[in-house]
Symmetry: C2
Subunit: 520 residues, 2 copies
């Protein structure tokens, strides 16, 4: 029997692997916690080895975006926006639309903040948005929570949101927590906004993103944030919450209320995510390239707006175009077209040198199944490789953003670990490719690399091991009773919730609960 | 209630989508078969927008591979290899190892075939391996078939293999069929090899890959292929089967039997996949870069070997390094490290301008679950974006290649459709980014793009729609009884098998069965 009979495409590796013992020892060694600087993946690793657009394509999109701003402009600007924008040099036409001369856009691009920090309440979670540094996190406005045991899509609540924040706190590869679902247990919009904010902040010390239903709600939100931070000064020094702001209703129309919300946030020192969420084929063009044009134009308008108010104010360039299934008009966040849109936008961010964010990782599938796995992985991989600074909606989102699934969030952390390993890439140092290792193994050496110094050194620093995902052999899997993936995720979820410790001190928590009605 | 109350991160797209009717009409229009030239994705689209290695990194790996060939060389060359290789200019040292001077390697690189065709029995399935053209297909040597209903891993049989070939025939995004599993129902190795070959060829007219347990088996295999082709001349004119050949036992050792098998295939006009299947940390270095060095060196040795026999003989540069879970030594085909290895190898193929193949899409998970989805998607996406000509093992493989799952193959076709859409990329023509579409929509137009000419045109040519994957809303999904993904895959599998028609004419089939004992 030759090597080919056993495993023709694999030749001998399995046999070689079996030759060597010490498995238990190695497993134990790897289970010990790694020093922060030795961890194989971490937030903010540089991506950018994938360039979905040619340089000419980037220029073409840039020019078309400037054309759109100059020629088509924006409708429905609220009076405050008219004042701010025309004050900066934009022109309101007889049709009421605000048009942006290219010189104005270029000036504001020169003035815009670069290399911004989105703070965590704990500084170790600070996100440094510069170059092609990649961060993954949650986001969305799901109205349902997915129950993996029953398959039910039930209304999401403030308790669910708080639980998700607590989970995010314990998941290494989830770098920030923008609220992924709506608190539908709270009928009053002001109370909903305040509970959304507190559910996030009381669950995690990572950077939090949220949004507001009305401009008037910002004041009380800031009041809460000052309480949590220990004063307005401390809040303004390290604002740990950003405002996800849909200032535009695509195509090319201001969302009046959101614009005023944005103004309130800027005044309150809260960084803004300038979010343009068109849907290709519905509210933006069906052509992927043209949708990137429109999203870019829309976010450039937001950039002018913010920088006309406060030059250099921290803002994330939030080109979030989505995809329609053109047969039905329904959203398809899990599609390949979506992955391209997001990656293409990331390259535009790099072109401008601006901190950027976009959406990836959304599944159309209703459950954390194989479809969800590939849908989430394709767009997250391409987002990371293209060097997107902020990958929003990266984990937990199902049914094209209508459902949030906690088990999927937990599984997503494993998926992101792998994706981050890919973002980190291949280090081709002279040491890494040294022929010495090969020589020593082949010429008079053991003929395999299992116990070599390089192997033992790299097994911790260069290899990512999943927490839930399963690498057992079929034999071992059988012997362990064929554990299901989702059940293992549920178990990790429970462990994470048990291990979680409050992140707001009791006095502050009391003060918040005295001042505001907290539902959870 | 503002737009933000409904769906803060999405703003208005859902509402806009709902405004417009005609869903049934659009669904029907899209359901009509598309002309071949209008299909949004097809085999052989160029990838290569992702470059995992820097130019310097590529050069470094190339130089290190040449060093390894010159300094370390290959052990255990069979007499025929010694004769062929030393005849060409390689040197056998006193330690018995064959070393390759760099000038020899460079000469053979200049002589090697480029732009080769791997033929389908039906010419429409011909694979043109040149540049960064990407093709996905099956491969492997699974010893189990995964039963998705019971979770059983049972022995794979010739019938299973034939069924998989029939499925591949109907799956548009599976471009070739290398045998993914071993016929364990056949105790005799010669009969196993012949049945493996016939199970594939009798199931699909796409290009077939196979391997042989002994060199002596090649003669009868060729006899069968001549029968199928209608004569030796016709076989040699369009050889529709390639030999997946593990000529090397990593590290840097010839597999004697496989070498002689390769020689027999070359003489018989059967293209070879020169397959180096090291396992990082076990049979090749733990450093990803160094494993690419070793795989490159090993395949270069194979390249010298083949071209020393027949200059310009069609061969695929098969750097297939795998990944070990270094805690256990077990293979982890589903890891991020694997995706990097494969993509890095693809870039080396581009550097040499050689037709190349590597492995992606393997799941460690035992079942077609969410883990399998992300594992398969990450490596397949990166393989395609890096412009890998032949992506082997792309679909259906579980438990690190130990199990083949037919339902997973069917689901994988949907996954590959999305991945191929990403490989196709973003066309940024002046027409695609024209501001006219935006202008006409915003200035006096309908304010949305749902019925625009561009949308209706692109919905067929630019958007990929899955066959099994589900994009229903939660409401619709509920109303339809929450159909499960795997059940839907089983249903498509059954339909495909019912729709399949024999691809060997009855007279030839009779002739084959008279000459050889066929088990299925």
């Amino acid at each position: 029997m030759t090597d080919e009979t056993i495993d023709p495409d694999l030749c001998a590796p399995r046999a070689a692997a079996r030759r060597h013992g010490g498995r238990a020892a190695r497993t134990a060694e790897r289970a010990a916690p790694l020093a922060e600087n030795l961890r194989p993946v971490r937030p903010g690793m540089p991506g950018g080895r994938y360039n979905p657009l040619s340089e000419e394509g980037v220029q073409r999109i840039h020019r078309a975006a400037l054309d759109a701003l100059e020629q088509v402009g924006f409708g429905k600007a609220p009076p405050s926006a008219v004042e701010i924008l025309t004050g900066a040099g934009a022109v309101q036409g007889e049709d009421g639309r605000i048009r942006f001369p290219r010189a104005l856009v270029e000036d504001m691009l020169a003035r815009a903040a670069r290399g911004i920090v989105l703070h965590g309440r704990d500084p170790k979670y600070d996100l440094h948005l510069e170059g092609t540094r990649v961060h993954y996190g949650t986001a969305g406005a799901a109205v349902h929570v997915v129950d993996v045991e029953t398959g039910d899509y039930r209304d999401s609540t403030s308790r669910d949101l708080h639980e998700a924040a607590r989970l995010a706190q314990g998941l290494d590869n989830v770098h920030f927590f923008q609220r992924p679902m709506v608190c539908r247990d709270i009928p009053d919009n002001l109370e909903m906004d305040l509970n959304t904010l507190y559910a996030c902040c009381a669950g995690t010390t990572k950077h939090v993103g949220t949004s507001f239903t009305e401009p008037a709600h910002v004041a009380q939100a800031l009041e809460m944030l000052h309480l949590i931070a220990g004063g307005e000064d401390r809040w303004r020094e390290r604002p740990f919450v950003s405002n996800s702001n849909c200032f535009v209703v695509p195509p090319m129309t201001f969302a009046e209320e959101s614009c005023r919300t944005m103004e309130a946030c800027v005044r309150g020192g809260m960084p803004v995510l300038l979010l343009s969420a068109g849907q290709a084929g519905a509210t933006s063009p069906a052509s992927i390239a043209a949708t990137i044009v429109q999203a870019t134009a829309e976010c450039l308008a937001g950039l002018v707006y913010v920088n006309a108010m406060v030059p250099g104010f921290p803002a994330v360039f939030g080109t979030w175009p989505f995809v329609s299934d053109l047969r039905t008009g329904a959203m398809s966040g899990g599609s390949g077209e979506q992955a391209l849109l997001t990656a293409g936008c990331a390259q535009m961010h790099r072109f401008y040198g601006l901190p950027g964010g976009a959406a990836a990782g959304m599944a159309d599938s209703k459950l954390p199944d194989m479809q969800a796995g590939w849908e989430q992985a394709i767009s997250n991989t391409m987002a990371g490789l293209s060097g997107l600074n902020m990958v929003y909606e990266a984990v937990g989102m199902h049914a094209s953003l209508l459902g949030f699934c906690p088990e999927s969030l937990v599984l997503g952390d494993d998926m992101l670990g792998q994706v981050l390993r890919c973002v980190r890439g291949i280090e081709v140092t002279e040491d890494a490719v040294s022929v010495d290792v090969i020589r020593q193994t082949c010429l008079g050496g053991p003929g395999h690399y299992l116990g070599s110094d390089q192997t033992l050194r790299l097994m911790q620093t260069d290899y990512v091991y999943p927490a839930v995902a399963d690498r057992m052999s079929p034999k071992e899997w059988n012997e362990k009773g064929r554990p299901g993936l989702v059940e293992r995720a549920t178990a990790r979820k429970r462990r994470l919730l048990e291990e979680w410790r409050p992140v707001i001190d009791p006095a502050t928590d009391r003060a918040v609960r005295e001042r505001f009605r907290i539902y959870f």
